[in-house]
Symmetry: D2
Subunit: 201 residues, 4 copies
C-alpha cells in the first residue's frame, strides 16, 4: 500500500506547472488544514461533476443552466465568425480583450509534437456542427491558436479537416503574426520579423 | 449560489504560492480530467484524514501505525537534544542533511509579523512535554527556525515560553548564523557579515 | 578634484544597462589590469574616432572605406523600400532575418517619453535625402520601430515629418502587429490580440 | 587588420559579466557619443594609471596621497586583527557593515578551480609583512573569503602559507558559516545546515 501522503503528492504533480516540492507543500497544507477545510475542498471538486456543464455548442465549461452557455445563447454575437481556440482560458482572454464579437469553439487542447492524435480534441463536434453554423451565416473560421509549434501544427490539421468538409463559401483564417506589444527588433526572431514586414500597413 | 468553478478556484488560491490564474488552471485541469481522475483525487484527499496520523510526540504527520512516528520511536536518537522546527519540511531538511541525531518538535508554523498569536502553534504540546523529556535526559532545546523576521520573532517567543517553564539544567540555543554556502562578501548584508565575524573560528 | 575611481565609474554608469555596482566592478577590473591592457583599451576607443565612419546615406557606423557602407553601395538592393530603424542593432537584426532587401536609414535613437525632442535624431538627414531617393524609385517608407511606447511615439512623429515633405506617390507603413513567436493567447495583452484579429489572414 | 568595432567589442567582453551582445551595445554607445564624451572616457581610463595608487600595506587602490591608504594610516584601527579579503569590493563591504575595526589585506583575487597558481595574488607582499605586523601587535589573521569552492581552496592555501611562516602566537581563523539572512531550512544545503547546527549558541 503506497503512502497516502506520497500518493496525493503524485496526483498534485500532474497539475499544470507543479513539481515534486510544491506537490509536497500542497499535501502538507491539506494535512495542517482542519478536517472541515478538507471537506470543503472535497465537495468543491465533487461539485465540478454535478453543477458544471459543458456547453454543447462551444464545448467550454460553464455553470449556468444545462444547455448552451451564455455566449452561445447570446443573440447579439456575430454568427459569421467562429474562433476555434485551444482552451477555455484562451476563450476568456479573447473575451477580456473586447475585440471579438463572434462565436467560439473550444477544441480542448492542442496536438502535441510527440503525437498528432486528435483523440481528446473535439474535432467531431466541430465538423458535425459546421453545416448548421453555415446555414446560420458562418462565413469564416478563425484558427486562434498560440504562436508556437503545437499551435501551428494544430492549425494545419484543423484547416485540413475544415477544408475537407467542403463547405461552400467558408474561409479559414489564422491570427495575424508580427511584433507583439513590447517586442524589440533587436531581440525578435526571424519569423516574427518576416511576419512584421509581410504584414506591414 | 456561488459558481462552483470560482468557488473551487478560490479554495486553490489558499494553497501556498498559488495565485488566481494558476488556481483557475487547476480547476480547468480537473474539469478536463475524466471523472475517474477526479474520484482518485477526492479519495486521495479523504485518505489524509484516515491513514495519516499526527505523531503525538513531535506533532509531524506520518503514515505509519497510529502513535509515535519512526523518528520518535527510534531508540538510537540522542535524547539530550530537541530541535524545534516550524514545519515537517524543515524537519525533513535536517534529516536529509545527516548532521543531527536528536529529537524534533514541529511547531506547526511561525508567528506572523502581522499578529503574534500563538493560536495554531503547538505551544501547549511543547511545554507540557518538557518535564518528561528532561527526565529522559533533555539538556538543550535548539530553536531551528529560518533566518528571517518571522523565524526570529518566533524564536524570541518560544525562548521566553521555554524559559518560563523554569526547567533546571535546560539550555536554549539557536542555529548559528554566518556565510551560507555560496555567500559572497560583496553582496552579504551587514547582519550576516557581523555574524560571520563574530562566529569566526 | 573628484576621485578618478568614482569619476570613471560615473562614466561607466552612462553605458546602457550599467548600474553603480557594475560600474565600480569595471573600474576595479581596469585597475587590476596591467598598464598594457589599459593602453590597448584606450587605443581601441581612440580607433573608433579614426577608422570608423558613419555612412552618409543610412547613418550607420561601418569600418569599410570612407563613404557609403556596403549595404548602401550594394546595387542589388530594392530602391523602392526604405526601412527607418532606431539603431544599428535593429538594422543588423533585420539583415540577419534575411527577409528584407530594401534600403535602411538609422535614426540614431527613439523619442523618449519624457521629452519629444528630436535633437539627436538624424531627421534632417532623412528628409533632405527623400527627393533624391524618390527620384531613384523609393515608393514606401517602412517605420521599423519597436512595439513599445517610445517606438510608437517616434513612429507618429516620423510619419508626420515624412508626410509634411509632401512627396507624391510615397507611402508610409509600419511593421505588422500580432502574435509573435511564442505568444500564447492566455497571456497576450488586449492590443496584441486586437492586432492579431485585425490582421488575420 | 581587424575591424575596430569588433576589436573594441572583444575588449569589452573581457569585462566582468559582459557578453557579446552587451559588448556590442557598449561600442555602439561610444560610437553614437560625441568625440568629447569619448575623450572624457579615454582620459578617465588614463587617470587610473596616474592619480590612483595601490596602498603598499593593504594593496587596495585608493586616490589619496601616494603611500598608505586612509584605513592603513588610521591610528584607531585594531592592530591585532588582519582580515585577508579577495578584492577591494569585499573590503568595502566589510567597512560598510561597521562590524570590523581591524586591518585589511587585499589578496587581489582567488585561486581558480582550474589552476591553483598564486601568480597574480599578493602572497609575497602578505608574508613579508607578517613579522612587522606581529611586532606591532597582530594576533589573528582572519581569512575573509566567500563561501564558495574558490574561496575555500584559497583559504586552505593561504592558511598553509601563513602557517609555514611559523609566527609564534599568530592564529588563523575563517569567517563563521551558518544560516545567512533570509535562509530557510527547507532550501538550505547540508553544509550550511551542518554549520548552523555546529555553530549554534
Amino acid at each position: 500500500m503506497p503512502d497516502p501522503i506520497d500518493r496525493l503528492a503524485s496526483l498534485f504533480e500532474r497539475f499544470p506547472g507543479i513539481g515534486p516540492r510544491q506537490a509536497q507543500r500542497f499535501v502538507q497544507f491539506l494535512l495542517r488544514s482542519s478536517p472541515s477545510v478538507r471537506r470543503e475542498f472535497i465537495s468543491g471538486v465533487q461539485d465540478l461533476g454535478g453543477s458544471v456543464h459543458q456547453c454543447p455548442e462551444c464545448m467550454r465549461f460553464h455553470t449556468g443552466k444545462k444547455g448552451p452557455c451564455s455566449i452561445c445563447a447570446d443573440p447579439g454575437r456575430d454568427l459569421s465568425l467562429l474562433a476555434i481556440v485551444a482552451s477555455d482560458a484562451d476563450l476568456l482572454a479573447l473575451e477580456r480583450s473586447h475585440t471579438y464579437n463572434g462565436k467560439y469553439f473550444v477544441l480542448g487542447g492542442l496536438l502535441s509534437l510527440a503525437s498528432d492524435r486528435l483523440g481528446n480534441l473535439h474535432v467531431k463536434e466541430l465538423t458535425s456542427s459546421l453545416p448548421k453554423r453555415v446555414k446560420a451565416g458562418l462565413a469564416e473560421v478563425i484558427l486562434a491558436f498560440p504562436a508556437n509549434p503545437e499551435g501551428d501544427s494544430t492549425a494545419v490539421r484543423v484547416r485540413e479537416i475544415v477544408t475537407e468538409e467542403n463547405v461552400p463559401g467558408l474561409s479559414v483564417t489564422t491570427l495575424g503574426r508580427g511584433l507583439s506589444t513590447g517586442s524589440e527588433l533587436e531581440y525578435a526572431d526571424p519569423d516574427t520579423l518576416k511576419s512584421a514586414l509581410d504584414n506591414r500597413k
